[in-house]
């Protein structure tokens, strides 16, 4: 008798699944199902759809950049625009509640798109993370025929910018600015201005990038701890000195 079938051999077995599904269903099966019934729900779903669209587009743009289909001049504005849109949508409280966080959103809606996800996690562009110099020749040889004084003027300006940003950021830390929404923009600007000066890697640059990523992964209202603030201050200070050294 242990050989009996696990399920009954009924004459209705061909349709038994749907009949039991009909029993189990919480909604009537006779009319079309709708995603939303109120316009608030509609807006919510449309915002989520926008986020999803951003993810998809970002993924393709990333891949295209990596495959050299688009240049970095095309890539940088698009990517930063997409990132900005992503952050703006998430500022909406309802959407943020529904969204929870990136991982749960992915799990709910079965989203892959790994490149986009990692970019969103990091929060900065590829060209910022691994900057490629826009100036032809600065990384390879220095025997290029470009007007020296304008280059010098431009780089002096950029160096001043970068220094100013360093000081601003360190002052903010000393003033006990700890929240992400206070520190992250400053650090982003610092990074951009550094890249404008030079793309040479100097000691401490990786640290800055690391902190940038870390700040990005926090929620806007999160704060860094005192220990972290001290560590950050030390790292930035060290980087400033290193930056100064490479300026000739």
């Amino acid at each position: 008798m242990n050989l009996q079938q696990p399920y009954a051999p009924t004459a209705y077995s061909s349709s038994s699944f749907s009949s039991t599904a009909a029993l189990r269903s919480r909604i009537p099966l006779d009319e079309e199902a709708r995603l939303y019934r109120t316009s608030a729900q509609r807006d919510l779903y449309e915002s989520l759809a926008e986020i999803y669209a951003i993810i998809v587009t970002l993924d393709f743009v990333e891949k295209a950049y990596v495959k050299d289909t688009i240049s970095q001049e095309e890539y940088t504005p698009i990517c930063s625009r997409l990132l900005a849109q992503y952050r703006t949508i998430l500022k909406n409280q309802d959407v943020a509640n529904e969204f929870k966080d990136l991982d749960s959103f992915r799990a709910q809606y079965d989203i892959e798109y790994a490149s986009a996800i990692s970019r969103l996690r990091v929060g900065i562009l590829a060209t910022v993370e691994h900057p490629v110099s826009k100036e032809p020749g600065s990384t390879y040889t220095s025997e290029q025929s470009t007007p020296a004084p304008s280059r010098a003027a431009a780089s002096a300006r950029a160096a001043a910018d970068a220094t100013g940003n360093f000081i601003t950021f360190m002052d903010a830390l000393k003033l006990n600015y700890k929240a992400k929404d206070q520190l992250h923009p400053l650090l982003g600007e610092l990074m951009t201005s550094l890249n404008a000066v030079t793309t040479k890697d100097f000691d401490g640059r990786a640290k800055i990038i690391e902190w940038l990523i870390k700040l990005n992964s926090m929620k806007a209202t999160d704060e860094i701890t005192d220990d972290e603030a001290r560590q950050l201050l030390f790292d930035i200070d060290h980087a400033y000195k290193a930056f100064y050294t490479i300026l000739e």
């Binding site: 399920y7 209705y12 599904a21 993810i55 809606y109």
Partner: protein, 512 residues
């Protein structure tokens, strides 16, 4: 929900299990724990007929199982049979709808009410975690998802059958065979009287050499049913009635604690002891025992009577004859008939008398010698007759069985041939029908499920479309702007569809 099971029930259960069950301890503990947790179930023993026709007396738990369906509690009437080989063989569960309900065959219940479940088909008896209690929980679970019965007023709860005391079990499943497992069927002993009487008859026939079948073992059968003894004693009335007073006393003093299964033993004993010769306690003086085996004697007795002599009583015979008349001590016979006759005849020649006596003695000896042989032969013939009868009966039953099987085979062949013919016709027809549009054929039973099909198809189609757009961008067929615009639009649409798929799946219970 648990209630302690009455001690009487447990004792009865233990007694029943000791009879034929393989693993008494395990069965007992499982059944007791199931009864404790589900007080709406009651135990009883009953005859279960398998699909191959065999029937056995099995323990049966019947009653209702409370299940929750759509927030209401329903009691589904079930019947669970525990086979003798429990726990190595899974119990069989049936749904037994009452008159107010109808059975609803489904995934787990077939048209006979039998319950199927992977828990039953993958039942592992060696594991103590696999037991009746878990089975009841599983049954309650599946009945809560798919109710196996429906009624006119499904909100009414079915009353669980009252827990019956095992000492008076409901008699509707009484097995008429006096099998050993029917021990506890106390009130039903008067029924199987038909069978014991026949062997008793045979006893009398076989033991015609004796005055009565030996009822001396009767006091040993202290539990012989009261109804049986008087009947058998009535048969004994054919025998000397002087025996009856002695033997009526023990049976009337018997306690009324009938034990049906002892009857076969009794009969067997009686058949085995037909012959200890019980010397008549009181020689029945005026009785003349006319036994059919002694025809040679019958004509001789009147003959000897006429002669005024009687034959001496035979050794070993409880047969009595008229005691020889002592002519010396008696007064001379006043035979009135003789006085009218002429002078008495000469006394017979003593030689003649002696010869006659000798001849009579010899004949008598020969008769006694041949009697045992004849007896033996008769016994043997009787045995052969019995055996022949039995064989005939079994042959007849086998023949009927074979005829039945042959009939069944013929019917099956015919059915199979019919079905094959129909299948072939269908094949021919289908091959003539031609291609069918796939989209028309693949459809679900309800609007929402159709929608689900469409949405999933759209989702995957958009996925493919975006991928192709990406490829086009790679090959620089389209510019980045166009690519971005279209991708955004398509992705938005895809998300809406995917969200709706997810919502439908959650609402209809297809996914958790």
């Amino acid at each position: 929900m648990a209630r302690p099971v009455p001690q009487q029930t447990l004792e009865w259960l233990h007694r029943v299990l000791l009879q034929e069950y393989r693993d008494v301890n395990r069965t007992y503990s499982d059944v007791a724990s199931a009864l404790q947790s589900y007080p709406s179930l009651a135990p009883r023993t009953s005859v279960y007929t398998y699909e191959n026709g065999k029937s056995e007396l099995l323990l049966n738990l019947h009653g209702t199982l409370p299940t929750t369906f759509r927030l209401a509690v329903y009691n589904i009437p079930v019947s669970i049979w525990i086979s003798h080989e429990y726990p190595y063989v899974a119990p069989f569960a049936f749904v037994t709808p009452t008159a107010a309900m109808s059975l609803r065959p489904g995934n787990h219940v077939d048209t006979n009410g039998r319950v199927y479940h992977p828990y039953i088909s993958y039942w592992n008896g060696a594991d103590p975690q696999t037991n009746l209690l878990a089975l009841c929980a599983v049954l309650g679970d599946i009945f809560g998802k798919e109710p196996p019965v429906y009624g006119k007023a499904p909100q009414q709860q079915q009353l669980p059958r009252p827990l019956t005391q095992p000492s008076q079990p409901p008699p509707q499943h009484y097995s008429p065979q006096p099998s050993a497992a029917a021990q506890h069927r106390n009130p039903f002993s008067p029924r199987p009287q038909v069978t014991p009487e026949a062997p008793a008859h045979d006893d009398n026939l076989i033991s015609f050499g004796n005055a009565a079948p030996s009822y001396s073992p009767a006091p040993n059968h202290s539990q012989a049913p009261a109804a049986y003894a008087p009947t058998a004693l009535n048969l004994a009335q054919q025998q000397p009635p002087t025996y009856s007073p002695q033997y009526q006393r023990p049976p009337s003093g018997l306690p009324a604690a009938p034990h049906v299964p002892q009857l076969p033993h009794q009969q067997v004993k009686q058949v085995l002891h037909p012959t200890p010769p019980v010397p008549p306690p009181v020689p029945p003086a005026p009785h003349l025992q006319q036994q059919t085996a002694y025809p040679p004697q019958v004509p001789q007795v009147p003959h000897s009577q006429a002669n005024g002599y009687s034959l001496p009583s035979l050794a070993g015979q409880p047969l009595t004859t008229i005691p020889p008349r002592d002519i010396i001590d008696e007064s001379p016979p006043t035979v009135p008939s003789l006085s009218n006759q002429p002078a008495p005849a000469l006394p017979p020649h003593p030689e003649l008398t002696r010869l006659l006596n000798d001849i009579a003695a010899i004949l008598q000896k020969k008769a006694t010698e041949t009697q045992p042989k004849l007896q033996q032969q008769t016994d043997r013939l009787r045995d052969t007759l019995d055996m022949l009868r039995r064989t005939e009966a079994s042959l007849a039953s086998e023949q009927s069985e074979l005829a039945r099987v042959s009939d069944a085979c013929h019917r099956n062949t015919k059915t199979l041939k019919d079905k094959i013919k129909r299948a072939e016709e269908t094949i021919v027809e289908a091959s003539q029908r031609g291609e069918v549009n796939v989209d028309d054929v693949v459809c679900a039973e309800s609007v929402v499920f159709n929608q689900l099909y469409e949405l999933t198809a759209d989702d995957l189609a958009i996925e493919d479309a975006i991928y192709v757009l990406g490829k086009a961008l790679d090959r620089e067929r389209i510019s980045l702007d166009i690519f971005l615009k279209h991708t955004r639009t398509l992705a938005r649409e895809q998300f809406m569809k995917r969200a709706l798929v997810r919502k439908i799946a959650l609402d209809t219970g297809l996914s958790k």
